[in-house]
Structure formats: C-alpha cells, structure tokens
Symmetry: C2
Subunit: 456 residues, 2 copies
C-alpha cells in the first residue's frame, strides 16, 4: 500500500512539475500578457509614437517631430541650418552662419534633459470648451504659476495686479496700444519707442492703421511733456540688452520685459510698472508655443486688453496654456535654480567666447556691458544679452550687415531696428550648431582683418 502511495504521489508530483514548467516557460496566454503590460491604456499608443519619433537619429544636427513628414514609414529628420542628409550628418562646407532670427533654441538641451517632467499628454477631449470652469479664457492654475514664477525670479510685482494672456507677447503689444490709446479719433495717441527698437512696435501700429493711435517714431523727437503718448520701453533693450527707463515725461508706457530674466540680465529688483509684457518664448525657449502675458495695474486698462483678446480670437489655445503650465512648473523647481543656472551658463559661455573674438578686432565692436547686482543669483554679474549689437568701425563699412554677409554671417541690419546700418544684430540664442558656426565665421572674419586682407 505504502509502495503504491509512493508511486502515485511521485507521478502526481511529476505531473505538477510539468504543469509548472509549462506555465513558466510557455506562459498562460493572454493572462500573462496582461500581467506584463504597463498599466497604461488609452495613452500608451501616443506615448510609444512620440518616443519612436524622438528616437529617430538625426546626428544631433536636426530633429524629427510628431507632425513632420514621413518617408518609407519613417519620420524625416528636419536638419538645422547648414546640415543635410537623411540623418543630418552632412555639413555643407561653405555654408553661412545664420544669426538672423531670435529663435531661442539654446534651451532645447535643458528640456531634453528633463524629458520625463516636461512631456505632456493631451487627451482627445481635453478642454473642448471655449471656457475654463472659473474663467472665460485663462487657466487659473497657469495664472497662479506665473505669479509664483515672478516671485521666484524676483523680476516683477504681481500682487494686486491683473494678468492677461496673449498669443505670444506680440499680440499683447497691440492689445496694450489699443487699451492705452485715445478713444477720440480726432486726436489719435502718439506711439513712440527709443531707437534702436524691435520693429514690431512700428509694423503692428501701421498694420492696424487705427484712428485711435498713430506711430510717430523715436522718443527723441518728443522730449516735451505729452500725455497723449504711448511709449514702448524695452528693458532689456532688443538689441543691446540694456535696462531702460521711459524717455518721455508724462504719457503712458508699455514695458516690454521679454528679456527681463536672469539668463540675460542681472535682476536689480522687481519691476512694478503700469503695464508689463512677458513672453514664454525668451524665458523658456518655447517660441513655437506662442504664449505671453501682461501684468496690469489699472482695472480699466485690464478690461480693455481682455476685451481685445476676446474679440480678436476668443482667447489662447487651451493646449498652449497646458503646455506653458507644464514647462513653467519644471522651470520653477528648486526655486528656479537649475533652470536659470542652465540658461545663464549657456548665455554666459557664449558671451565669453564672443567677447574673446571681438577683442581681437578693431574693425568690429560690440555693445559694452555693465555689471550689476542680480537679486536672483545674489551676485554682481555681467549681462549676457540675447543679441550682439555689432558696429562696423571703418568709415567705408556703412552697411554692416552686408560686410558680415560677405564674411558668411547673416545678421539683421541696423535699419530693421530704426538705427543706422553701420550696426547689425547677431542672434546668440539659436542652437549650439548655429552658435558654433557663428564663432567659426567670426573668427575667420577677424583673422582676415588681422592679416590685412580685405573681404569687401
């Protein structure tokens, strides 16, 4: 009997072994698959798609994007200037360095390093309405974070102030002119700015060709008290990078603070003007996201700016606001230290290299920078502006952009900023590739000068 038991028990045990083996090495079909899948459901496909596109190899001289072209089922690399080929590995030998636009790609590496915290998943039904629960156009959470951000950066007072969002700071520039302008068509307000200034002030005012305001040019021609003036005060200036005060006594002001962040300028203290405009573009580098905001003291002006944005386009895309919220949250981590330090180091390194090249030149000079105490970094620091404002010193070089162009450097001519063409603006906030090529071309240009070889 005992013998039979051993025999039967052994056979049962072996059978159990076999069953376990099958379970372990073959699996139990669908159930096992489920237990080994991620817990994600509807978002997994989009996530996998985004990661596949991001993993496309573009030799770090380009990017593939989710909404880019597809060739043979593969995302196509969009190469940075001067690079080409399917993986952007081919550098065009004689290619000009393009330092024209203010495309702030210099911060792309920061967002790549913080990929997990800055990705955002938008569901198909995310905020289909025109309105938020507590606001017709603006995300209350985003408003809250913008206020926190200014408190962290120490660059603007937001307490007891109104905030309005716009499609980039660009839209807010014209909304602000509208809101501050005379409602009396027979005596339109005079719109002014100090040369050199951002061309959009003039271009927008002329585009709208309103009965309520008219573009009048440089502040120098209006040095009298004039209350019917709307003055654009760009601080730091574009180009130049200097902190600025209003020029005209009396009148109203629009403070364009697009560059008033610790990576570009020491922050001497919080700005507290009547109407201040900021932009995500130059702060975090998300120019393509088209998001800006205005901080406004006066309720009546606020209502007018709000009405302008509402009638012009019923507010800002909810997707844009969600993304702005996400990147601002990351920028503010650890009181903004990692983000602003990364951004400042990028700019500061570029300025060190730039000044080293220009120090060898007598033909070209760049703006002087004046150190100031920065309340954010708790140090006295040099400004590191977004642009170099180059002056061609030789008498005959009265078209500086043309001189640079002959040296294979593309900049913007002084007249774009209503200044003399003896000046040209070079952008320092583009991608590292663009900056490296700019350094190379500038070095070549300056070395030609030192070998007494004229290029023009």
């Amino acid at each position: 009997m005992k013998k039979y038991c051993y025999g039967i028990c052994f056979l049962i045990s072996v059978a159990i072994n076999i069953l376990f083996s099958i379970h372990l090495y073959v699996g139990d079909g669908p159930n096992q698959e489920i237990s080994c899948r991620s817990s994600l459901t509807w978002s997994e496909k989009a996530a996998a798609e985004a990661e596949a596109v991001a993993a496309t190899s573009c030799s770090s001289h380009g990017r593939a994007f989710l909404d880019g072209s597809i060739s043979d089922g593969q995302p196509v690399c969009e190469c940075y200037g001067c690079y080409s080929g399917t993986d952007c590995s081919e550098l065009s030998p004689g290619c000009a360095a393009d330092a024209n636009s203010g495309d702030p790609i210099y911060l792309e590496p920061f967002w790549m390093q913080n990929a997990a915290d800055t990705a955002v998943v938008i569901s198909g039904w995310h905020r289909m309405s025109y309105e938020y629960a507590d606001d017709p156009m603006m995300s209350p959470e985003l408003d809250k974070y913008i206020r926190k951000l200014h408190s962290v950066a120490g660059n603007a007072i937001t307490q007891d102030r109104y905030i309005v969002f716009g499609v980039g700071s660009s839209q807010l520039l014209s909304a602000a002119v509208y809101a501050l302008s005379s409602q009396n068509s027979s005596s339109p307000s005079n719109v002014l700015a100090s040369t050199p200034f951002y061309h959009l002030y003039k271009d927008q005012t002329r585009l709208f060709n309103s009965k309520n305001f008219v573009y009048r040019g440089d502040t120098n021609s209006w040095q009298t008290n004039n209350t019917d003036v709307i003055e654009f005060v760009t601080s730091p200036t574009n180009p130049g990078g200097e902190l600025k005060k209003k020029s005209v006594t009396g009148g109203k002001t629009i403070h364009d603070h697009a560059y008033f962040w610790p990576q570009f300028t020491p922050i001497p203290g919080p700005s507290d003007h009547d109407l201040m405009i900021f932009s995500l573009s130059k702060l975090t580098g998300h120019a393509g996201t088209r998001f800006g905001w205005a901080i406004i003291k006066d309720k009546d002006v606020y209502d007018k700016v709000l009405n302008y944005i509402y009638l012009a386009n019923a507010g800002i895309s909810k997707d844009t606001q969600l993304r702005a919220l996400k990147v601002l949250k990351v920028a503010m981590k650890a009181d903004g230290k990692p983000f602003f330090e990364f951004a400042y180091n990028q700019m500061s390194d570029r300025w060190n290299r730039l000044t080293s090249v220009f120090s060898k030149s007598t033909r070209f000079s760049i703006q002087r920078r004046h150190p100031l105490h920065c309340n954010f970094f708790h140090q006295t620091r040099q400004p590191s502006p977004a642009y170099a404002w180059v002056r061609c010193e030789r008498q005959e070089d009265n078209d500086c952009a043309a001189v640079l162009k002959a040296g294979k450097i593309i900049g913007q001519s002084g007249s774009t900023f209503s200044a003399k063409d003896r000046y040209a603006r070079l952008s320092l906030i583009k991608s590292q590739d663009d900056f490296e090529l700019l350094m190379q071309r500038l070095t070549e240009l300056v070395s030609l000068e030192n070998h007494n070889i004229e290029i023009m």
Copy 2:
C-alpha cells in the same frame, strides 16, 4: 531499492515543485520587474498622470483636467452647469437650462470613444522654433490633411488655392477684412453682413477702428452695385442654418463656412469662393484649441492675410497645430464616415426631439428647414443646424429671450445678431446634460402654454 527510489524521487520532485512555486509567486526580484515594465521611458510619467486625471470620477456630469485644480492631492471635478458636489452628482433642482453659448461639447463622447487614436504626447522640446522646416508659420502636414479633409467632405475646392491658419476662425475674420480693404484711408471700405448675423463681424470692425474699413450694417441698405463693399456671407447662417449667397452685387466677399459641414447641413457641392473661412471648433468640437483656416484664391490677398497673422502674433501655436493634425486624422478615417455619421446623428436626434416639442406650441416657433441632397451622405436630408432660432409669436412677447428666461431657459436675444428681440437663439451643440435640461425646460414651457397658464 525500488521503494527507496520512489521515496527519494518523490522528495526531489516535491522540492522542485516548491522551487517552481517560489519562482512563480514571489518572482525573481528586479529582473522580473524589468521584464514586466512597458517599453516607454520619458513619456510614461506624463501618460500615467493624464490617465489618472481622466479616471477621476465626476459622475459623467463634469470632467477633471490636467490643468485643473488639485485638492488633497486629487484632481478637482469641474461640473457641467446645474451640477455640483465633489463628484458632480448633485443636480440643482430649479436650475436654468443654459443654451447661450456655441460651446460644441456635443462631440466630446466621440473623442472619448476614440481615446487611443486622439491622444497626443508633446515632448518638452517639441517645435521650440518659430518656424517649421519648410514654412515660417504653418505645418505642411496639417495643410495637407486640411486639403484631404475638404476633398473627403466634398465641401470646398482647395486645389490651386492658398491656405492660411489663424487663431480660430475669429482671427481670420479680421485678417480677411484687412486684406480685402481699401488701402486708401480717405475712402474706407464698407463692411456689411445680412441680418441676423454673428456679432463678431461688427464688434471686430469697431474694435480695430481702422482708417481702411468701416462697419456699415445690414446688406439690405446697400442694394446697389458697390465695389467698395466687403460682405460677410455666413453659410450656413448663424443663427438659422440656411445656405446663403452674397446679397450685394459687385464688391468682395468673405464666406464664413464655420458650419458648412455634413453634421449641420446637406452639402450640395464644394464651395469655391474667393475667400472661405473654416474652423476646427464647429467641425470637431475643439473650440478650446483655437484653430481656423482660410482658403484663398488670390495671391495678393493671401499675402496680406499671411502678413496680418505674422505681424499680429507670429503664427499659430505649434502645439495647437499638432493637436489639430491628430484630431483631423481621426475624423478622416474611413473617408470621414464614422466621424460625420456620429456628429450628424447627434444633431439629427436633437432636432427630432426639438421639433417634437415645438410642434405642440403656438406661442413659439423655430426656423423652417429645407431638405437638400447631401453629396457627402448621398442622400436627401434635412439640415440640423447648430442653433434653434426661436420666434415668440404672441404680440406682447417682443423680448423672446426674456420670455424664455422666465421659463428658466437662457438663450441669446435677437438683437445680439442685429435682429429683432422677438427672436432668440438657443444652442443645440452643448453637452448632453445641457441639451436634456433644455428639453425639460422647453417641455415645461410648452405644457404651461397648453394649460393656458401665462409665465409672464
């Protein structure tokens, strides 16, 4: 010996069983964890976050959103009108039905049903530039899909036409007026529309108060040939839902085709006007995404519209364009059949219920609808407009919105559309909750009428 063998073999077999059991139910530590994780890396956190928010229970009378408030670490439900409570389960008993806005939430269920295909993951470094590789402002892929969409829906000719994107169709309305207007300030162009019309035509023209154009009111007052006219032709009309032709001979036209889609109107054939404006909002219900486009024949007009968008806000958010691309791709699956059928069925069901209520009333009437052959559905169908245009028939009911309001129904008064206040507009494209409540209140109102009880 055989007995010993049985005994030892049995013990070994049991030991193997125990080992297998431990392996199966305890696992082999970190290795097993890795093998059971999803292959996602940087996008997983955002995906999990989005799914957690989407899983928040709001009793299907509200939604929680990624950018909504957080309370005790949990996303807060944003309840639809008339519902409240932490999970939106409490219906306020005497709450008025809000049929005021054109918020197109009626399509939300479609996007929830297609969650996996319509989610979009945006990386922190997605399109930071102002520009696309092949276009300064507009996604070439999105342009391509918009053209395909019109071909699928059969509602507009896009071949050899230019397309410009705007911040909703709203921005394109003013860009179009600018582009078509006189560049001669001494004789501004006359902007007209046929009553009843969408108030934005008037409001925007007045907001910009341009020297180049002036709002002149109804087309009826301009029945002469006049080449200095810019006429808004809304087709289908808002409110009303009728297909319309231009009223003024000569002059220029802006065809506002926001509602020219198979869910609202039979499509008799592709529209082929000089300047046509469409909007994502009324097509897919993504009003919060602020995306519209204009189809333009003339190169000069196209250049002017493009310049307007460029100077006003340097183009449309790249995030918005990516999301528009994603939802349009899904809307176009299987030649648009599932999407347009879903949308048409929603509208058609609502109209059946609405006409049933109004058929019992002599106090209130709604617009007549005229069946037409629809080239998309290959059938003759009734229009199912986005709005009911209610007329109060009693002599004394000359403020129809007020009459409705007394019956706990919120609509827009006729004068909002430059028509008589004897009319009022009721929105039929809001959420199912809103529509159900509207039906309830209308039924109550009509039943009061049939019991000869005056409510006002």
